[in-house]
């Protein structure tokens, strides 16, 4: 197999096009003196001359020049042959997951892993080695090369992610890089703080672990819900992943200082919810921090943004619906406008259409027993003239949060098809009766029955549903920064690789001279070609280059 160490030089192949263009431009017609051109004058039309002037004609000179240029570019690309003579290939896999930022070793686990990997590739200088970064998705950092300096530089350029590692995928890619039937080995530098990555590998696996500490307390969840005007209930999930009981301080800071703080004592392996109540003026940013959070700092802080700049503007378009109006008015954090027909819907944050069909889609809207014509066509709106029988219900959706919806009835109803991005919340067999749609900035909710022909507005679920609709469709009042998963916060080693590994350096001895650099041979071919071209075209024409065929 042949690989190129300097693939970027492939761009130089563009020079071949330049050579062809030069030939097209420089190709000259041979001059031939004839007794008279009298009979030839009619034989050449001007258009014919122009059309055919740029037609590339076969030329041995052109072929020689193209070959010489191609060989030269290939030489610059530094082709290496390996595997042809039984060489061994090694893939160095460096764990770049979030847990590798734990600082139980100096400077941290990732830095230590990179340092050890650099030592490893230096020892194997001259052998075919590649570098793979293992994170949520494996990334090839450096293809196979025997250049130890290049491998060290590639390792230097690596950075840890804030994601969970998918080591199984990384090992599968590493094996694929080695290829079937080739001698090779996979060397993993990791903290092993992930659940198993067991798989059958053709190549022997070596695992070099960095960091053994499991001392970490981290924030593994954070959420907030409005609890009245300007009030939010904040829930933080804090986990103790160390082997002993820990007491940590959880502090919510804002620009104005500490907004709330609590001290929590957690048993070993315990994950507990901690609640805060916050008064928010407009839109405000907070940071939840843990004091004495252990070796991994990444999960000790999470940002949180609460509140809105102003109350959202809600337009209710209805011929009259006391249930909807009352339910909407029960939410003081919105400004409600009621109209009997649609006018300037874009002036509102969201629009509720009750039995009044809008002419066009609205970015954020709730449709009660109606859909705009485009959406009705796209999603197959159909009337079902019989009483509603619910076949299934998705209670996990955010719109159904805190809802029971045990006995939903309607005398007749409409359905949309369960396709094209539709999330069916209430299904009636023929289609979806209550559906949600989300695509980029567009969100809408469809309720496929008249509220007056249903028991839904009489149930306690109705105002809660309207509240959920307002939250889902309205501007986001809660924004939470990235939170590490409990698996990443648990920095202790968990991967049981002992059955698969060999001790580092105890593997089979590498076969020397596994890789052969071909560029000197390619360069020699280039020189030969240029020499032949000079001899055949330049020297034979007395130094005067001719493009004659």
């Amino acid at each position: 197999m042949i690989e190129f160490a300097n693939t970027a030089a492939a761009g130089l192949f563009a020079a071949l096009i330049i050579i062809i263009i030069l030939h097209l431009l420089l190709q000259r017609r041979e001059e031939r003196v004839v007794s008279s051109t009298y009979l030839f004058r009619e034989l050449t039309a001007v258009s014919s001359q122009l059309n055919r002037r740029l037609r590339l004609r076969f030329s041995w000179l052109l072929l020689a020049q193209l070959l010489a240029a191609a060989f030269l570019v290939m030489a610059v690309m530094q082709p290496d042959a390996f595997g042809l003579f039984g060489g061994e290939r090694t893939v160095v896999v460096v764990d770049a997951s979030a847990s590798m930022q734990a600082e139980d070793v100096t400077p941290n686990r990732f830095g230590e892993a990179v340092s050890q990997a650099q030592d490893y590739v230096s020892e194997r200088s001259g052998q075919d080695t590649a570098v793979l970064a293992a994170a949520a998705e494996p990334t090839v950092v450096q293809g196979f090369t025997s250049d130890a300096q290049r491998l060290r530089t590639a390792l230097d350029g690596m950075a840890p992610s804030e994601q969970t590692v998918d080591m199984e995928a990384a090992l599968r890619v590493a094996q694929a890089m080695i290829g079937h039937g080739h001698a090779g080995r996979i060397v993993v530098f990791t903290d092993a703080s992930f659940e198993g990555a067991s798989m059958d590998l053709e190549s022997p696996l070596e695992v070099v672990t960095v960091g053994q500490s499991s001392d970490n307390v981290g924030i593994v969840g954070l959420d907030a819900v409005p609890a009245g005007r300007s009030q939010f209930d904040v829930m933080a999930r804090i986990g103790n992943f160390s082997g002993e009981s820990k007491t940590v301080g959880a502090v919510l800071d804002s620009a104005g200082g500490t907004a709330a703080d609590k001290s929590v004592t957690l048993e070993a392996g315990e994950i507990r919810e901690v609640f805060f109540q916050l008064e928010v003026d407009g839109r405000q940013e907070f940071v939840l921090s843990l004091e004495s959070g252990g070796d991994l700092r990444l999960d000790d802080q999470v940002s949180l943004t609460l509140g809105l700049e102003e109350r959202p503007r809600v337009l209710l378009v209805t011929p009259g619906n006391v249930f909807l109006e009352r339910a909407l008015l029960s939410y003081p954090d919105i400004r409600l406008f009621t109209r009997e027909s649609v006018s300037e819907p874009q002036a509102y944050d969201l629009v509720v259409f009750d039995r009044v069909q809008p002419s066009a889609e609205v970015e954020r809207a709730a449709y009660f027993n109606v859909l705009p014509p485009d959406l009705a066509d796209s999603f197959g709106l159909q009337s079902q003239n019989r009483s509603l029988t619910v076949s299934s219900m998705d209670r996990t959706h955010r719109l159904f949060r805190f809802l029971n919806l045990g006995d939903l009835r309607a005398s007749d109803y409409r359905t949309v098809e369960r396709a094209g991005g539709i999330e069916s919340l209430v299904d009636a067999g023929e289609g979806s009766v209550i559906a949600a749609y989300e695509d980029n900035d567009q969100r809408w909710v469809f309720v496929g029955f008249d509220l007056y022909d249903s028991n839904f507005p009489l149930s306690v679920d109705f105002p809660l549903f309207i509240g959920n609709v307002l939250e889902w469709l309205g501007p986001e009042a809660v924004e939470v920064g990235p939170v590490l998963s409990p698996e990443e916060s648990d920095i202790g080693p968990r991967w049981d690789y002992t059955a698969e590994i060999e001790a580092p350096g105890a593997g089979r001895p590498a076969i020397e001279a596994a890789r052969i650099s071909l560029w000197p041979y390619v360069l020699f071919m280039t020189v030969l070609l240029i020499g032949a071209e000079w001899f055949l075209f330049d020297r034979s024409s007395g130094g005067k280059r001719s493009l004659r065929q």
Binding site: V33, T37, L43
Partner: protein, 287 residues
Amino acid sequence: MILSSEFLQKLERLSLVLRRTRNRQLAGSRKSYSLGAGLEFHDFAPYQPGDDYRYVDWSLYARLGQLFLKLFVEEHDTNIHLLVDGSRSMSFHPQKAELAAQLAAAFGYISLRQLDGVSAAYMTDRITTELPARRGRPQIFRLLQFLEKGPESGMTDMARVLARFAYYHKRPGLLVICSDFFCDSDFPQQIRNLVAARWQIVLVQVLSTEEARPQLEQPLVLVDSESGERVLVDAEGLTERYRDRLERFQRQLASMMAFGVHYIPVSTDDSVEDIVFRAFREQGVVR
């Protein structure tokens, strides 16, 4: 010598076939349709007052007692003008110029043998060198010597040459033009003018092998040997298109046969003997 002695001996068997042209100033060896002074007896005619007494047949008068005149076929000579193209396009292929000179010499020899007056000239855009009309077989050496010298290079302007030729040669005769006729000027019109003035014209088109069957297999810039004009040509189908063009040009020249012009296309591939004894005979120029 441009013609071998063996070939000249063979030419002895040939004579020119001419129509209409005759020279009333000098008696020659060619029979005319008029009767008068001559050697060949034709008929008797009753004497009319004013007739020449020298032609009265006195022995017939002795037998019949009436005066009769003896009528003879009057014999005239014809001026033969040999016009050989001496332009660069002819000398570009030496065989072409040589063949043109040989054919002109053959015409000249046949004519001189018949006691016709023969003049020869090389032309380009004018008459460059000229051998005045001579009569009698011994003049063949001067003619061959003149033609052997070869042409002077230059550009062809046949229309101009023929116009001047017609101006200086009022008396019609036989005009033999040996050329490739690669000429821009409207020489066919001048030839028609000469035909109208009772000239008999023989056009001998001499082409080289390269001109008759060119090998053109790549795009070329063709340079005219006379004018230096450059013409771009593409290789695709060029040979076929050239052949079509040459055939069209030759048909154009042959079209002048409709008003009595002899047109004889020849190639340097053919021998001069073959041309004279086959092509000239087929065209009815010699017999």
